[in-house]
């Protein structure tokens, strides 16, 4: 097992983790500030990918298509918040889960009506080959771009939340909603803005991942589960927690898939190892979540003191 392989797998894990972070960041803020469980978050990710596919075809440019899809998804997200989700804030979590689950089904069918069950979003040709990072390590250029975009968005988000006035209000809302309200923060506007920002992040993740994966109805559901695992590990309402949790989940999942079968092969017969490896790798992240919940029920970086 060479260090080049470990480096390559770490890059893969980082790439996956950063995309998870984009989803988890929006989810954790909505959950933390508004105390709202939004299962339809994955639907915004899907909408982002479908919109990007349409805009890329219309403009003929990948960059322009993605840049148009982001504000479009943000607007859709804010419309959703103002029209439907706002009425759910005062309800209990069960009602929120039921209502937003219904939204998943409705949005899936609407997308099927508008676009059909899938759409095409090809990788830009210039980025479809490998780049030689080190002698012996050729890495797909597009995955490097994803890592770059993920890091840039994380940095911007950090500066926004830590250094600006809006960010301060967001942090105030996340750590103590009632107190922020009492201090005269326009919480309604803040909620809508946060929701729009979360939707925009979904669109970034959806449109960046689409050329690697596929643009299809239901693409948001599997990744949503992972995003929830991330915010539970990281601590609800904490951007820093979402980043750490996402990279942790991304790296553990990738390393698990790559090395667990080999590791098991050292102890068991190859037949057992090749059967148990993938099964165990797919539960690794849930094991981590269980361990974190046991020792730190509030997550690694709790937003509330």
């Amino acid at each position: 097992m060479s260090w080049i392989l470990i480096l390559e797998q770490s890059l893969n894990g980082l790439q996956f983790g950063l995309m998870l972070f984009l989803l988890a960041a929006g989810l954790t803020l909505v959950f933390g500030i508004m105390d709202m469980i939004n299962l339809a978050h994955g639907s915004l990710y899907m909408l982002g990918a479908f919109l990007a596919s349409t805009f890329v075809q219309l403009t003929g440019s990948f960059l322009a298509g993605v840049l148009l899809a982001i504000p479009a998804t943000a607007v859709l997200g804010m419309l959703l918040e103002v029209s439907i989700l706002r009425t759910l804030y005062t309800r209990d979590h069960l009602s929120q889960v039921l209502a937003t689950f219904a939204l998943i089904l409705i949005i899936n069918e609407l997308v099927r009506l508008v676009w059909g069950s899938d759409a095409a979003l090809p990788m830009p040709a210039a980025l479809s080959g490998p780049v030689e990072l080190l002698p012996g390590l050729r890495y797909p250029a597009y995955r490097l771009v994803i890592i770059g975009v993920g890091l840039a968005v994380a940095l911007v988000l950090y500066l926004l939340v830590a250094k600006t006035r809006v960010g301060m209000l967001v942090r105030a809302g996340a750590s103590n909603r009632e107190m922020a309200l009492a201090m005269g923060v326009d919480i309604k506007l803040l909620f809508t803005l946060v929701f729009g920002a979360g939707a925009a992040l979904c669109a970034v993740a959806g449109s960046m991942l689409a050329p690697l994966l596929a643009v299809q109805v239901g693409m948001g559901e599997n990744i949503l589960i992972l995003a929830f695992v991330v915010i539970v590990i990281g601590g609800i309402g904490s951007i820093r927690g979402a980043l750490v949790g996402a990279v942790l989940v991304g790296v553990v999942d990738t390393i698990g898939r790559a090395f667990l079968p080999i590791l098991l092969g050292a102890f068991f017969q190859p037949r057992v190892a090749s059967a148990a490896g993938p099964a165990l790798a797919s539960v690794m992240i849930y094991l981590i979540m269980a361990v974190v919940l046991y020792f730190r029920p509030q997550g690694l970086f709790p937003a509330r003191g």
Binding site: M1, Q9, R112, M123, S128, R143, L213, A214, P278
Partner: protein
């Protein structure tokens, strides 16, 4: 002498009674369940189009009777497939069931048909349990047993003299069948045998392992969207220059060639059929398919077409008396139709015994990427499970 005459009379009377009890039907109803949405939809769509083409070419008839094909989308979900099968068998009272792409969906759905003695004609999946211990009188496979393409690929790897092959398949019945089949005829060393999640779309971790293992051949069984994503990512990672890729026939067929493009050129695969087969039935099929759908048919389309012809021949041979399931079964076993693959016959377990060929992705005279036949790997090849089948 007297007793012989008597015997003939009795037989004639019995025949008359049985003719009375099995009236010829006035129409045929066929339940068609397939994967028609999601990343693997292209496979189901090709099977459906091939099947519908055969019905259309016969003037909307199957075996001379007006046919109604009820098309349902299993959405790549076993539970949806089963619900559709229950609806087709119990409510619609179909005469035949067909269409499914994936083994896991088929394994969940076809028992519904078997319980009601409705014949399922498989245009694709033929999982190994159904070839052996669980072989069933109501299952006919118009395609090939699950292991067969992979056995041919294993034989091809052996012929080529590959010494260290790396194997990847999804973690489900057909995935396990595939690698078992490959290893049955591959004599070299297996560098690694990796099972990924069914429906997985990102293969970065697996590709990095392949790069590190430096095998002299990579065999993948990844149908539909999984294969499209794998091959695209394989090329993007720059691995296509170092590691020769071998795939089963559908792993480099039209549904994968279309999205991946020129990177497919020169890829070897194994199959029971190719569009360039030079027999009358195939020439007619390929020309009609291209005219109707403006694309080159894949193995899936050929299998769908053959499945329809098989049903057509059986209904015709029993003169439309489809209520007599035993007679229909007998007619099916005889398979009196011109298959696009050329001659084949059914084994005791009602799976085909046929030839398998080596194909390569090349350009045709119009510059399109298409699979061309370059050799025969197996002649009259059956499957390894038939001994376990107790059916006569």
């Amino acid at each position: 002498m007297r007793s012989k005459v008597l015997g003939t009379l009795v037989a004639a009377a019995l025949a008359a009674v049985s003719t009375l009890s099995a009236e010829a039907a006035d129409r045929i109803k066929i339940g068609f369940i397939s994967t028609l949405s999601g990343p693997s939809a292209a496979l189901g769509v090709d099977i459906r189009d091939g099947f519908q083409l055969a019905v259309k070419m016969a003037g909307g008839k199957v075996g001379g009777l007006p046919a109604e094909v009820l098309v349902g989308d299993d959405q790549f979900k076993p539970e949806v497939g089963r619900q559709l099968a229950e609806k087709n068998v119990r409510l619609d009272k179909v005469n035949f069931l067909t269409g499914m792409v994936f083994s896991n969906i088929m394994l969940a759905s076809v028992p519904v048909a078997f319980e009601s003695k409705v014949i399922y004609v498989s245009p694709n999946a033929a999982p190994s349990p159904f070839a052996g211990k669980q072989c069933n009188p109501y299952l006919f496979v118009a395609s090939w047993p699950n292991d067969a393409y992979h056995e041919a690929a294993g034989q091809h790897a052996t012929n080529r003299g590959y010494k260290n092959a790396y194997l990847i398949a999804p973690n489900y019945q057909a995935g396990k069948d595939s690698l078992t089949g490959f290893k049955r005829f591959y004599k070299g060393n297996v560098a690694a045998e990796v099972y990924t999640q069914l429906g997985q779309l990102d293969y970065s971790a697996e590709l990095a392992q392949v790069r590190a293992a430096k095998p002299d051949a990579l065999y993948i069984f990844l149908p539909g969207g999984m294969g499209i994503n794998f091959i695209k990512q394989f090329v993007a990672a720059g691995l296509s220059k170092d590691v020769p890729l071998i795939v089963p026939g559908f792993g480099s067929d039209q549904d994968i060639i279309r999205p991946v493009g020129d990177a497919m050129l020169g890829l070897f695969d194994t199959a029971h059929w190719a569009p360039d087969f030079d027999n009358a039935a195939n020439r007619k099929f390929v020309a009609a398919f291209e005219k109707e759908y403006k694309r080159i048919p894949s193995v899936f389309a050929a299998q769908g077409y053959d499945a329809a012809l098989l049903i057509d021949a059986a209904v015709r041979d029993v003169k439309g008396k489809v209520e007599d399931v035993e007679a229909v079964r007998k007619a099916m076993k005889a398979a009196r139709f011109e298959s696009v693959r050329g001659a084949f016959k059914f084994n005791r377990n009602q799976m085909p015994i046929q030839n398998y060929y080596l194909r390569v992705v090349a350009r045709d005279n119009q510059g399109r990427l298409v699979n061309k036949t370059i050799g025969t790997i197996f002649k009259d090849h059956g499957d390894a499970y038939v001994q376990e089948c107790e059916m006569k």
